[in-house]
Subunit: 343 residues, 2 copies
């Protein structure tokens, strides 16, 4: 066995957490639960879909006959403008107030598409909508979480292409950790951590999935999920609404190249949760330490039906993976740039 | 709406993380993925089971004809005695060495039982085995993670009642956080955090699921999973192998009362990941701040087939729940103590 094939732990500098690697274990047979392969041919419009243009939602409201993206208030928001007050009647029973708002972002009027199969110009439309939502919501909330749950395996209840935005007055756990780490790196090195990291990974090559002049996708050195990726700008930028038109175009291009590879990997509409980490507000200008980035967390491990379970050891001790990030990056790199379903 | 029905965040004093509560959202309909109901009648012995007494495992080795618990080395261990060396050639690429060992613990020779359906005396046998494993492995490793993944939904690949133990020379993420928090509380208050917490919850009553003179099960104030519970001793003890014979008997009794309630809640063999957090080694005696405890993380939300998905917002920002811990505790309290399948 090569020393790199032996178990070891790697440190995630964004969160401070470690991940346990077991590269020698790739041969393990799987006799447990298999997922349904969600592969179905869908039509452009579905009369039963709550998100298709013109249809009625579960709240009884009608969608307009939209032609690009379409944003509406979540009919069952987890966060409300009105929140319970903070209470700390005991050091072990601490409750904080958190105002917020939740919206749904339809990516396309077409019921049968996904971001991977949309035209690049239409993906630019999604990026513009993300940016607009960020501008609007960051005026009132400290944290604006743009995200997409894709696939039934990721708790997504509608196949219509859509994401969500949840904005909150509180800084959530992950934001606190990333803020702390990036500020620490800035104080120590006088440079943005994720800009240094992007440069380093371009040099090292082995974890790069796709790159263009402005953007880079890597399987990060510390990835926990088998095919987890990190999308990084190769220039200094803290928030998605600061991107120029050219930067949005090259972002659409790299997103498509990544997502087509994901779908091609197991010839399936690849499930994942993805989301953007923008610098937290208020936008006082002092966010040089923070680089805008997106995380992709896909659950699949070996095929369209065999997933990684983050369970006992992971929940109680720490995340564990078999495939190395370098092996995962290579598999993704090898995929064709033409979608397996393209005709 | 009562103020307690409004969204708020609660702080987990063991990890420092927060959880977002949305109690107003309990009415949300569910149109997404449903799980298979794993309810099947099993026989006492299965000739195809790798864990049944006398059968051959996937490694080709034969199990003895065991009559109580049975422990063997995992055929595909995630941790090995030989580990890769630590490497830190760049501040952003930090790799640590971690030696370890992984074992499987069969709880019973009977293929058709679960801990919930085993006799209390046989559960004492499992506790004794957990304690023995802890004694043996904590002599060589800093962290001994005893756990059980139960049910296909939790990545468990065999229905035969069994758990695992993974021991490692490194302190995993969760252990580091709990060590830090409990040490901090001890320095500040001169008392063990989880002993104070147990007393507090006995007084408050509303989050208690079951209690006896020596043990207590609560849905903790900061629970992330819908029916998450925390099992606490009501006396000072840092490690499972320090339990007396009487304490083991009352532990077996309370475990059974909890697990029968779990099964009765949705009339299904309730899936979960559970595990013990013992004070980390080496055992130098200085662990007064650390209380032995077990976490139960069950995925189900509303029925045997509808689970909570910890996905986009949860992975990118922070855990979110609808049902309050107080409501969950009440539902569990109301369950009968007789197993729904008992004849
Ligand atoms: O029981 P197994 O087959 O070793 O594996 C199961 O538990 C492990 C420890 O929580 C996880 O890492 C695996 O993803 C899961 O499938
Ligand atoms: O898309 P929905 O129905 O709001 O809900 C989904 O995403 C949410 C945010 O990640 C999760 O809290 C839910 O558990 C999941 O089912």
């Amino acid at each position: 066995m090569k020393p790199t094939d032996l178990p070891h732990r790697r440190r995630n500098p964004l969160t401070g957490d470690f991940v346990q690697l077991s590269p020698h274990r790739m041969q393990r047979p799987w006799q447990g639960q298999e997922e349904a392969n969600e592969q179905t041919m869908r039509s452009r419009f579905s009369k039963d879909c709550h998100l298709c243009p013109g249809n009625q939602r579960s709240s009884g409201l009608d969608n307009p006959v939209y032609t690009g993206t379409y944003v509406f208030e979540n009919d069952f928001p987890a966060l409300l403008e009105k929140a319970a007050p903070g209470v700390a009647d005991h050091p072990l029973l601490q409750q904080e107030s958190a105002r917020g708002c939740c919206r749904v972002i339809c990516f396309s009027p077409r019921h049968d598409l996904t971001l991977a199969e949309m035209a690049e110009t239409d993906i630019v439309g999604v990026i513009d909508t993300w940016a607009e939502q960020h501008t609007e919501l960051s005026a009132s909330y400290r944290w604006v979480q743009l995200f997409e749950n894709k696939g039934a395996m990721m708790g997504c209840s509608s196949p219509h292409p859509h994401g969500q935005v949840w904005a909150t007055s509180a800084l959530p756990n992950e934001a606190v950790k990333e803020q702390h780490s990036q500020q620490g790196y800035w104080s120590e090195h006088g440079r943005a951590m994720l800009l240094d990291y992007a440069e380093l990974e371009v040099q090292r090559e082995e974890r790069v999935v796709v790159a263009n002049d402005e953007w880079l996708v890597v399987v990060p050195f510390w990835a926990a999920w088998p095919f987890e990726t990190l999308l990084l700008p190769r220039f200094a930028v803290a928030r998605i609404d600061a991107l120029t038109a050219t930067q949005r175009q090259s972002l659409a291009a790299i997103l498509k190249r990544l997502l087509v590879r994901y779908d091609n990997l197991f010839a399936t509409s690849f499930p994942y949760s993805m989301g953007w980490h923008n610098a937290p507000g208020p936008d006082t200008g002092d966010a040089r330490h923070w680089q805008l980035h997106a995380h992709f967390y896909p659950p699949l491990l070996r095929s369209a039906t065999v997933r990684k379970f983050m369970v006992g050891y992971e929940l109680l001790a720490e995340a564990q993976r078999d495939l190395t990030p370098e092996q995962a990056a290579e598999k993704l790199r090898q995929q064709a740039e033409r979608h397996y379903r393209a005709t």
